[in-house]
């Protein structure tokens, strides 16, 4: 089973420019999936999570088409082939 990650422009500095990353992993949760992503591309972790392991407030993580904020957060279960998108919030001036 593969998890496909969609990487925003800012984070492609840490994925060798790749907008899409496929990892052959079997995560139990979104947290597990992100851990696998961080292992493959270490620079992403600090940008997505704080030192406390919390997703930064203006970073949105989507499982399929739904934000994990409205699911079970990082503990949201992942089943079957999965697409995860990391999306910056549309905010700021």
């Amino acid at each position: 089973m593969a998890v496909t990650f969609h990487i925003p422009t800012y984070l492609r500095a840490f994925t060798h420019g790749e907008a899409r990353v496929d990892l052959d992993v079997v995560p139990g949760s979104v947290r597990d999936a992100l851990r696998a992503l961080y292992e493959a591309y270490p620079g992403i972790r600090d940008r997505v999570e704080t030192e406390l392991g919390e997703v930064r407030p203006h970073v949105n993580v989507f499982l399929g088409e739904e934000s994990i904020r409205w699911l079970g957060g990082l503990d949201t279960p992942v089943g079957g082939a999965t697409e995860i998108s990391i999306v910056p919030a549309v905010s700021g001036g």
Binding site: Y10, L11, A13, F14, P42, G43, R45, D46, R47, V48, T50, E51, L52, E54, R56, H58, V59, P88, A89, S91, G92
Partner: protein, 393 residues
């Protein structure tokens, strides 16, 4: 992304200008007549802190990026902005178990002369970090982080930040730091313990005007020529200490307002300091729509306004806490940037001003570096030769 314009940095003065949308480098030779503006670097990132480290043969720029989405990190450049590091992990980070998460880097300060690999960083949430390897790795100053006051420190409008770091030039164990809005804290034992150092500084916004802590100190600056003396611009109040913060004296006589953000000391004269007063905390703009820099040359007994070259009508400007700097030349150059993106310079110690750049993003940081591209001995020799020639003539 916008195209970055680079400047050729030779012998002269370099201004490190941090804005809400990236960094700029502004360079002139030692005459400081003609300036070139380079940037934007790290475009899009608020850059609240910058520093230049020219020690030990380094030519390293530090720029603290605070990306509103992706977090804060410390970038460096060893080629005057042509390339910047983008570290995978922020070199400044709270250790596991500390309960802290880095929000913003507010200050990067070099260690004392002789401590050539030491740097300090002040961050939000309010904490001090130290590097002993020229910025490669950083350690949390644990005793300040564990200070019993910290749970009751309240954030200022800009956040709960440690924004000012003053290593004492005459005492390797002493450092003063300023935190908004907690006040001034001092260590005399190299960071093993910290005590408040703001007696006499008022907190006008509180019911208890002189609390044990909770003062909203906006900026402190000192001068190595007179250790122990510092000037302080407070959230209401302008002060001086001659005993490293043990006691502070009100020196606001003769200024249109004692509210403001920056204060900078003259690089050679410990009696001279510069401020840009603002009208009030409700109206954080220059009074009467006039942009004026005030200077004292007698340690705060009196203040003199300077306005030549600065707009004196409809100039409702704001200069933030790190928006003012001085260079180390003689006569000293004074520089400041405004929230409206205007950058001004004076090469005659404040008497007259020139607009260097207009329309930059809001300026939050102006630091300076004197760049020497020829060996000091050679320059001294040339000066001596000139003097000899003049003498012979």
């Amino acid at each position: 992304m916008p195209k970055t314009r680079h400047v050729s940095v030779g012998d002269g003065v370099l201004l490190l200008v941090g804005t809400m949308k990236g960094a700029f480098l502004v360079h002139a030779d030692r005459s400081r007549k003609n300036w070139n503006v380079g940037g934007p670097y790290l475009a899009g990132e608020p850059i609240y802190a910058m520093a230049f480290d020219g020690r030990q043969g380094r030519r390293r720029l530090f720029a603290a990026g605070s990306n509103p989405v992706w977090g804060a990190t410390l970038h460096t450049s060893d080629d005057f902005g042509r390339t910047w590091t983008n570290p995978e992990n922020s070199p400044i980070r709270f250790p596991e178990g500390s309960g802290g998460a880095l929000k913003q880097i507010w200050q990067v300060t070099l260690g004392r002369p002789g401590e050539d690999n030491v740097l300090y960083a002040g961050v939000e949430p309010a904490a001090l970090f130290e590097s002993r390897d020229a910025g490669t790795s950083w350690t949390l100053a644990r005793a300040l982080w564990d200070h019993p006051h910290r749970p009751r420190w309240e954030p200022g409008f800009g956040g709960l930040c440690l924004h000012t770091i003053c290593p004492a030039p005459d005492d390797p164990g002493r450092i003063l730091v300023a935190i908004s809005s907690a006040g001034v804290y001092r260590t005399d034992d190299g960071g093993a313990s910290w005590t408040t150092a703001h007696r006499g500084v008022r907190a006008e916004f509180r019911p208890d005007t002189y609390p044990e802590f909770g003062q909203c100190v906006h900026k402190i600056d000192g001068n190595a020529a007179r250790p122990g003396r510092y000037f302080l611009q407070n959230h209401w109040g302008l002060y001086r200490t001659d005993d490293a913060g043990a006691t502070w004296t009100d020196i606001a006589d003769g200024v249109p307002s004692d509210f403001g953000f920056p204060v900078v000391c003259h690089p050679h004269d410990p009696d001279t300091a510069y401020i840009v007063p603002l009208e009030s905390d409700n109206f954080r703009c220059t009074p009467e729509g006039k942009l004026r820099v005030y200077r004292t040359r007698n340690a705060g007994k009196s203040w003199q306004p300077f306005s030549k070259g600065l707009p004196q009508a409809n100039a409702y400007e704001t200069v933030l806490r790190d928006g003012m700097g001085v260079d180390a030349l003689d006569p000293a150059g004074i520089y400041f940037g405004t929230r409206s993106g205007r950058l001004y310079a004076s090469r005659d110690e404040g008497r007259s001003w020139k607009l260097l750049a207009d329309g930059l993003p809001p300026i939050v940081c102006v630091k300076t570096a004197v760049i020497a591209t020829t060996k000091p001995r050679k320059r001294a020799t040339r000066r001596a030769q000139r003097r000899r020639r003049v003498h012979r003539a």
